[in-house]
Amino acid sequence: MIKLRLRSFLFVIVLGLVITLFIPISANALSGSEFQAGRIMDDGVFFNSGSMNVQQIQEFLNAKVPSCDTNGQISIYDSTYGDTVTRKIYSERRGISTPFTCLKDLRQDTVAKSAETNLCNGYSVANQSAAEIIYGVSQSCGVSSKVLVVLLQKEQSLVTDDWPWPIQYRSATGYGCPDTAPCDAQYYGFFNQVYSAARQFKRYARDSNLFNFRANTTSYVQYSPNASCGGSNIYIQNQATAGLYNYTPYQPNSAALNNLYGTGDGCSAYGNRNFWRLYNDWFGATKGVDYSWQYAGISFSTGSSHVIGNTQVTVTVTAKNTGNQAWSSTNFPVRLATFAPTNHSSALYNSSWVSDTRLATVGQSVVLPGENGTFTFTINVPNREGPYTERFNLVAEGAKWMPDPDFSINLTITKSTYKWQMVSQSSSQGFALSPGSGSQFTLVAKNMGNTTWSNSINPVRLATFIPTNRNSAFYHSSWVSSNRPAVLQEPSVGPGQNGTFVFNVTAPSTPGFYVERFNLVSEGLSWFEDPWFEFDINVGNFYTWRMDSQTSSTGTFTLARNSTSTFTLTATNTGNVTWNNSSNPVRLATWAPSYRTSIFNPNDASWVSQFRAATLTQASVSPGSNGTFVFTVKAPSAPGFYVERFNLVMEGVSWLQDPWMEFDITVN
């Protein structure tokens, strides 16, 4: 009872093990929809004589027959006799005796074969294992060992058979003896079968014109030997596929493909299906990695490929996946890369690229065969006039470059022009500045070029010029830098529009006449064409004035002899120094000559002195403001017409510049 329990428990565990082992296998099973009738296998896979070495073949054969039932001891149901017997008895009933030799254990004498041009390189006599024969034939004929192994399974199930019969070895590769003539010795035996099959596949290639199915042609392929089952025309894409159809001239129908690991219907043939399925399951893809693409479109953020130099344009390239591999953005990511020559540096490079030779990674996480993938990236348009062409191609990073579909990005570039013209210039304090004083300058500039100015991307700035980037004597700490007084105020200024630059200056301490040359620059792109622009600034203390008005308290400048009147002069401070009436007061003084004695001096102490008629009324008069001077006059006793010249003086500092001011008085 305990034994029974243990046994049943172990049985459950083993069953569980078996089930769990098979779960992942079925999860990764191949689908019949992946079968490509025109391309069952690629030539590079089929004719790869280096696919396995002898040891690998032997290990594989060992794995597929973990234990050979040499003496036929396993039981089997014999449907003909309706009983369960050992394989030994089952076989003996059919004239076959034990022991059975499994493929992994088979040894045989090979047969001498002479070399034939473009078929096989011949064979020497030797006693060889099946693995050695498979390898040797593969080497001699240039057909993959894996293909030969699959062929043995497809034709006679020899690879997985743990009790094979001699008849299976006799037609190991299905190479049949003629029906109407004695079987040629060249077809007998395992070695001959393998060699003949490999040689025949080479013959389909060498003498392709003799056979039905040829690479790059369309042929009708039936679904089964029964003509009434029909078939379809297949465009056969390569020699390997042509060879497989010449060897077995049927294609699987949809019933056979829908039930890939089982049977289809009465019209199903399984040879080429099983060959393809077995190869996939045992050795991987029958097709080499086919990464390929076709151009499917391009778009530009500018709306067309007509672009302006030195601008940034966003481009989207659409590519159709015409290969058999899904494109990924992470595993062997598919990227648009510089090409012809590969990995050349591009004049379109933008720092947003993956690298200097990789414009972009495919925008979708997965692009299946037949689907479109997109590549979006920004280019820096070089500033040159005319057409621009550059070659690109897709690469599956770490896997391979795709075949070149002759793709290029074609641009028609209009060279950027950077031109401007001054509209106006102004200074809040005028252009005569006292040493060390400040002012705010404004320049309004018209965009005369074909690019839009920006104050953020490649910002347009006012820059010191002649020499370029010189340091300015008018530098103010609010500048962008010592040679960039201001950046464009407006976010963007299109062609024909005006842009404004406003900046503070500090006048230098050294008086003089300064010519400050400036120009515009689009940072990182280009200097503008020089329109010859300058600010002309006089630095120093300037004592100038002009008369604003003169009045007489009597309402007239015609005075009676010895009469008095009060004159008022209103003067505008046109200089750059503030007038005051306390320290270094500004006064109205007799003039032409200076220190002239005026006969209109009333001599009543109302004048400041003999030569100074009045002091500025206001405590302070800043540049641009008016000051008044009020004084009393007394007409002389001698009638006549008098011209009395006056000027302003800043006592202890300077005479003001003579604006020619006079009072014209008639005395009668």
């Binding site: 565990i13 003909t80 199930s157 029906d179 893809a285 990695v289």
Partner: protein, 180 residues
Amino acid sequence: MVKKSRKKRISRPLLIIAAVVLLVLSTSIWYGYRIIQSRDSVGGETVTNPPGTEKIDLSPPTLEDKKAVDQHKEELGNQKPEPSDSDNTGEKKQITPIITSASKTEVRAYVSGIIEEGGTCTATATQGSQTISATGSGFDNVSYTQCAPISINLGSGTWSIVVSYSSPAAEGKSQAKVVD
């Protein structure tokens, strides 16, 4: 009686240990298998080799593999010897040639059901009352008889082509194929 019960007491813990060991073993094997399988899958996160890389599958034969062996054995075991063509029945084997491609200049066909050399394949093109024929010889190709390409020269218009095969052992006609 006493002996029996002692045995029972010893066996139970052993049984539990064995169960735990086997469970751990089966789980680890299962996980190992999953990792190996996922490495081979294309497009998964765990891919370590470029897609399309070949492999050599050393796993034991699957149920399908074993089923295929049994089926093939059954076919071989229950095979009845076909009436040989050399049997003196006097009757030729009836076969149906198959046209794989046909144009106004060339017809290609093969004959399944017989493997032999020396037969004759004849392409006969018919347009109204007009008939044009051309022949090619048959030769063996692995498991069937291949007709050498038959050159033909057909004028404009639609032609109906039939390929017939004839040898001492077999004869037959294909379905008609229309060439425009």
